[in-house]
């Protein structure tokens, strides 16, 4: 059995759902003949035809708006944004319309917006951003970011079957850097459920996306020093699996929140809010946030390296917190 990369897993997830349900279709820029900027939809045009693999003009707002309209009228669109950064061009459609349909008029919007996000690919200020927070902040939206190939496929399939609009953030650096053997056939990974990636007793780290791997690498090194760090992968960022976050803190009594997104207004704050209110009595040390600094994502290697949270940084902070 061969291994499947994260990007292949996403492709397979869409493919299987399109086989399963004739109402599922894909739409976006350069996704048909070209197969998409990251080749996620490669081959789909040949298999499913023009009706279900829809190239659009360069119009993010219209893509989202049309996806929402199609969802209202019974289809299950899977939209591709060429880069997550350009979702900003459809921000009003996403946050002001799609997100509110169920609340306003009981209309479900079973729509997935897939968007390649994140850095470490020399993408610079416009092709590296982590855009999750405005959507996490918008009631009515679900936000997902897988860390593994298994989850990428399973979460995407669950997102396509979900009856609420889902922002599905794919990490560009993980596309080809992680792979694993996947079970044959159909499976899904439920939305809204975090997963303990590594059990530990001394302290916890909560992460998602690429940073799960950073956390696991740090945990492996810390283990050699006798520090036993539990790693929680959130997987779904909205709605958050608050119980899982509280459970790990109640277990280890110390916690680090790690994300690639910039610090201020990042998910780390929300997590600190949850823990600081509901597990305060369990805390034996400060809640540590590790995040990118509050700057645009820089391009040059020296700067991008300094910008992105590192394994070493996690190790150092974990040591300090463990010592606390």
């Amino acid at each position: 059995m061969t291994e499947t990369t994260y990007v292949q897993a996403i492709r397979a997830g869409i493919w299987e759902e399109m086989e399963r349900d004739p109402n599922v279709f894909v739409m976006g820029e350069d996704i048909a003949e070209y197969g998409g900027a990251f080749k996620v939809t490669a081959g789909m045009l040949e298999r499913f035809g023009e009706k279900r693999v829809v190239d659009t003009p360069l119009s993010e707002s219209a893509i989202v708006g049309a996806g929402t309209g199609a969802a209202i009228n019974g289809l299950r669109p899977v939209l591709e944004m060429q880069f997550a950064d350009f979702m900003a061009c459809g921000f009003d459609q996403i946050t002001n319309f799609a997100a509110k349909c169920r609340y306003r008029w009981g209309q479900q919007i079973p729509m997935v917006i897939r968007a390649p996000a994140g850095g470490n690919i020399h993408g610079g200020p416009f092709h590296s951003q982590n855009v999750e927070m405005p959507y996490v902040h918008t009631p009515g939206l679900k936000v997902v970011q897988p860390a593994t190939a298994y989850d990428a496929k399973g979460l995407l399939k669950a997102s396509i079957r979900d009856n609420d609009p889902v922002i599905f953030l794919e990490h560009k650096y993980l596309y080809r850097s992680v792979k694993e053997r996947l079970p044959a056939g159909d499976y899904t990974v439920p939305l809204g459920k975090a997963k303990v990636r590594r059990e530990g007793n001394d302290l916890s780290i909560v992460a998602y996306g690429w940073m799960v791997h950073t956390a696991l690498d740090a945990a492996a090194q810390l283990a050699a020093e006798g520090i036993d760090m539990e790693v929680l992968d959130l997987r779904t960022l909205a709605p958050l699996d608050r119980e899982a976050v509280l459970a790990t803190v109640r277990k280890t009594n110390k916690v680090i929140f790690l994300h690639e997104d910039t610090l201020t207004g990042g998910l780390g704050g929300e997590l600190a809010g949850i823990v600081g209110e509901h597990a305060f009595e369990y805390l034996d040390g400060p809640m540590v946030r590790i995040a990118a600094p509050d700057t645009p994502v820089p391009f040059s290697e020296t700067l991008e390296k300094a910008f992105l949270p590192t394994v070493d940084e996690v190790i150092e902070q974990a040591r300090n917190l463990h010592r606390y």
Binding site: G65, G69, G140, P239, D241, H278
Partner: protein, 342 residues
């Protein structure tokens, strides 16, 4: 009356059609009037209060041609379209009053209403945003090979928005079945046309999308009807979208609190002579289809209906605060209440 006709919509101009059109126009006029000049001032209606006074012919003359499977995205001046789709005055009143019995069950207010069952998308407040959404509704029709169409309504102001452009362009490229109905009432809030666009007519934009388009008197309900019929022939035939620009005038402020002092008095006066209800009545009288007496009766019937509807709506409860957090997602997120963590 008022229910979405089970049969195919009328296509010939005859007495029956004229009476139907007149009924809906009068209902829209009187219902909005009751809301704006009574209920709003009495504090029974909160929030914004927009009417389509003087523009009734547009939504009525077009939506009457809609078939059950079609979708409509009315603007805030198109109450007639909702009425024709079978949405009852009492539902509209309860909506305005924020009652549980309103179309959004109190979650949204005023004209921000619609109904999935009756294929009316509630107003998207972001002006212009309905245009791409109409594209998606139409795309699904094409996807399934239906011959349905979308009636996408908007004002002149909407044509300045990026979404309008993206939506028209995408629909034109994809040959989507949409009739665009622009109510050009010459103002976007206080902004006159010449501050909105450097052209005389909205239709001048159509060739830039490769779209057929025409201008019609938006105060002449039969002209709107005929133009819509032409458009539908084109659109239902699978030839892509079609734009109708309905010239009209907003015979009110932008909303109830706006005295519209920026509108030259002459302009308002000029347009008051083209009242769409009176125009249709004159047409009917000229053909001896009806008399003043008939019109009085129709109006009386409408006012009675409204009286009953107001009574019903006023008796509706306000939404139960315990429902506040329902329907954000299909299944409430675990962790219970949204206000605070577990």
């Amino acid at each position: 009356m008022g229910a979405l006709a089970a049969a195919l919509p009328a296509t010939e101009i005859d007495l029956d059609l004229a009476r139907t059109l007149l009924y809906h126009m009068v209902m829209m006029r009187e219902l909005e009037d009751r809301i704006e000049t009574k209920l709003y001032r009495q504090g029974k209606v909160l929030g914004g209060c927009y009417t389509g006074r003087g523009q009734e012919a547009i939504s009525v003359g077009s939506a009457i041609l809609s078939q059950p499977g079609d979708w409509l995205t009315p603007s805030h001046r198109d109450m007639g379209a909702l009425l024709i789709r079978g949405i009852a005055p009492k539902e509209i009143l309860a909506q305005y009053m924020g009652r549980a019995g309103g179309l959004t069950r109190g979650r949204d207010g005023n004209m921000h209403m619609g109904c999935a069952k009756r294929h009316c998308v509630p107003i998207i407040s972001s002006i212009g945003a309905s245009v791409p959404v109409a594209g998606g509704l139409a795309l699904a029709m094409k996807y399934r090979g239906e011959s349905n169409v979308v009636f996408n309504y908007f004002g002149d102001g909407a044509t300045s928005r990026g979404d309008w452009h993206e939506g028209l362009n995408m629909a034109a490229v994809m040959d989507l079945p949409i009739v665009y109905l622009c109510n050009n009432n010459q103002y976007a809030y206080s902004t006159p046309l010449d501050r909105q666009m450097n052209i005389d007519d909205v239709v001048e934009r159509a060739p830039g999308y490769g779209l057929p388009a025409e201008i019609v008197s938006g105060n002449d309900v039969l002209a709107v009807f005929k133009a819509t019929r032409r458009a539908l022939e084109h659109v239902r035939g699978g030839n892509g979208p079609y734009l109708i620009e309905c010239k009209t005038f907003r015979m009110s402020g932008h909303s109830a609190h706006d005295r519209a002092e920026y509108v030259p008095g002459m302009l308002r006066e000029e347009w008051s002579r083209k009242d769409p209800v009176l125009m249709l009545q004159k047409y009917m009288v000229d053909r001896e289809w009806a008399t003043e007496q008939d019109f009085k009766q129709i109006r009386k019937g409408v006012l009675d209906e409204i009286d009953n509807a107001v009574e019903w709506a006023l008796a509706q409860p306000f939404p139960d605060p315990s429902t506040l957090e329902d329907d954000v997602y299909e299944t409430a997120p675990s962790g219970g209440r949204l206000r605070s963590a577990p």
